[in-house]
Symmetry: C2
């Protein structure tokens, strides 16, 4: 969780599980604290489908997050995969703290902070490729 590539990453992809058992996938912006990854929803009114990631995580909290780097020089590819257990924070101090972390990381959130629910993912397993880190 202290891999500098993970700390520096601006975007990740979150996989949850749809009610029919199929994986669901969205890009997310996120903040980290300790072994927990947070993301929030935008404040704008959302259609119900936009919250599918939240409802999926509520129903089936075993989720997976991928941070990766692509470039045409394939010797420089890498990815970090996080498996974790999701908690949906509808309000409270931890949700407020997560929103503060997101606003610190993303200037885009400063004028228009995200709202709740916040998803907290307690990371239980980190795997990266290549296993040996190359100099960056």
């Amino acid at each position: 969780m202290h891999d500098p590539r993970l700390l520096a990453a601006r975007v990740a992809r979150l996989a949850t599980t749809d009610p029919d058992g199929r994986p669901h996938l969205v890009p997310i912006v996120f903040a980290l604290e300790g072994d927990t990854l947070y993301f929030a929803v935008d404040r704008k009114p959302k259609r119900s489908t936009t919250l599918r990631r939240i409802e999926n995580a509520r129903a089936r909290p075993d989720v997976t997050v991928l941070v990766d780097h692509y470039e045409d020089d394939w010797s420089r590819l890498w990815w970090i995969r996080l498996r974790g257990r999701a908690r949906v924070l509808d309000d409270g101090a931890e949700a407020e703290r997560a929103i503060e972390l997101l606003r610190e990381k993303y200037p885009q959130y400063r004028d228009e902070p995200p709202g709740t629910p916040v998803l907290a993912i307690d990371v239980t397993d980190v795997r990266s490729w290549p296993a040996t880190r190359r100099p960056t």
Copy 2:
């Protein structure tokens, strides 16, 4: 499937389902033909875990692929999500054609072509955000 952003994309993320029901996630390079997306495995010897994506798709062929664009100007974010049904091609003409398509798209594959198995994903559903395409 004919969205120019999808045709131009160099990398996607593939979500399959692990035997324990949790989503599994890897970045992939891919080629498209008709309504089918293809990717292959590198020829180098792989540990069994590296083929998890293939074994998952064989066991549970309902998979999801995400192509997205991130930049710090959030008005320019977009994603395209493909849901489809996977077929594992252990050999045969379709696998050879897929490898040819991948070599045409990626010069990196020209000296060291990928091998089999090839995963073919017959796309059944395409969803994109924002729903209205912005000028690029």
